[in-house]
């Protein structure tokens, strides 16, 4: 029974026991006239709510892309050909995007393990894994910059392109640009938190929640890419 709210940022030792069961638990949590998200640190709840709002932003972009793609009478460029690369004389469809997907998934894997080591108070491994995550993120942004310059060199603009429907460029630059911005901010965020882990800031406070919260943001960036990959590149 959660009779008192845990102090912010410091989960009580019993924080993970006594999970509320089923609908009665939900009703109890929401009807208790206190904080609804019991035993969830406020930082984590706020990050989730931010990610929820970001979900709406990205869905608006993807829905806009869907609308212009359905409504245009000009054929849509074939992403499989637009994003093909010629490696060793053979043209491989969509290969750069596939590699970018694997890079981002790998970064999610290292981030998940960093959270785990943070709660074990293994500062070195936590920081190393977080910096590895940031390095994967930088790789991803670098490949995206390469992809952008390649398309711009081929004449793709937000208002026109030589392959087909003019809306292709607008959707592409808007969606991947906004996602790339999220990755770049994530790289900064993770690097700062990693350095603070190394410096021992959270050791003194005795609270490594921030690593998990930063991790939530990073996994969300990966999650958005899953949808962009499916709807923009594969559809």
């Amino acid at each position: 029974m959660a009779s008192h709210a845990p102090t912010p940022g410091e989960p009580s030792p019993s924080a993970l026991s006594s999970p509320a069961a089923g609908w009665q638990g939900i009703a109890g949590d929401w009807a208790s006239d206190k904080d609804a998200f019991k035993q969830v640190p406020w930082g984590k709840a706020m990050m989730w709510i931010f990610l929820l709002s970001d979900t709406f932003v990205f869905t608006c972009f993807l829905t806009g892309y869907m609308s212009v793609r359905i409504s245009t009478t000009v054929p849509w460029p074939n992403p499989s050909e637009v994003f093909a690369l010629t490696i060793g004389g053979t043209e491989i469809p969509l290969i750069l995007i596939a590699i970018m997907t694997f890079v981002l998934i790998s970064s999610s894997g290292t981030m998940a393990m960093a959270v785990n080591f943070a709660y074990r108070r293994d500062r070195r491994r936590t920081a190393a894994l977080m910096l590895a995550t940031a390095a994967f993120g930088l790789t991803f942004v670098g490949m995206q910059a390469f992809e952008w310059s390649k398309l711009i060199a081929e004449g793709v603009r937000p208002w026109a392109n030589p392959m087909g429907a003019a809306q292709f460029g607008a959707s592409f630059f808007m969606i991947t640009g906004f996602h790339g911005l999220h990755v770049s901010i994530g790289v900064l965020y993770l690097s700062i938190v990693a350095l603070k882990v190394l410096r021992g800031d959270y050791e003194r406070a005795g609270n490594y929640q921030i690593v998990e919260i930063a991790g939530l943001y990073w996994h969300f960036v990966d999650l958005v890419w899953v949808f962009i990959f499916a709807f923009f590149y594969l559809w």
């Binding site: 989960p11 993970l16 999970p19 509320a20 609908w23 638990g25 939900i26 929401w30 609804a36 998200f37 035993q39 969830v40 709840a45 989730w48 709510i49 929820l52 979900t55 709406f56 869905t59 608006c60 829905t63 806009g64 869907m66 609308s67 212009v68 359905i70 409504s71 009478t73 499989s80 469809p93 969509l94 596939a98 997907t101 694997f102 998934i105 790998s106 999610s108 894997g109 981030m111 998940a112 393990m113 959270v115 785990n116 943070a118 709660y119 074990r120 108070r121 490594y208 929640q209 998990e212 991790g215 996994h219 969300f220 999650l223 899953v226 949808f227 990959f229 499916a230 594969l234 559809w235």
Partner: protein, 111 residues
């Protein structure tokens, strides 16, 4: 061993999910590589996408272990977006038909 705070799951769990995500990504890439078309292509893409999203949210983001009050607060609101998508798809279809109709008629406006 020191008492650990927060969520503790074995590292092997994360490695397994990582592997699964790799396999699913490879499969969705192969859908494009082998040029599947039509409903087969779309259903495969959406299936792999939803599986990947589910794994990331439930395991990597620890949603599987959160309290239900928060899980529903986060996962239910996005369902509104399905309404938006449905409305916009209907609207876009209508615009497409209007354009076909208009362009077919109005090749020489003013005549």
């Amino acid at each position: 061993m020191e008492h650990a705070q927060g969520q503790q799951h074995p590292i092997s769990l994360y490695l397994k999910i990582w592997g699964l995500l790799f396999v699913l990504s490879t499969l969705s890439y192969l859908v494009d590589y082998f040029h599947f078309q039509g409903y087969l292509r779309w259903s495969l893409i959406v299936t792999f996408m939803l599986l990947k999203a589910g794994l990331i949210v439930s395991i990597f983001m620890h949603m599987a272990w959160e309290r239900l009050a928060m899980v529903y607060a986060i996962l239910v609101p996005p369902l509104c977006l399905l309404v938006l998508i449905g409305l916009m798809a209907a609207e876009a279809d209508y615009i497409f038909l209007s354009r076909i109709f208009f362009f077919a008629q109005g090749a020489s406006p003013g005549s």
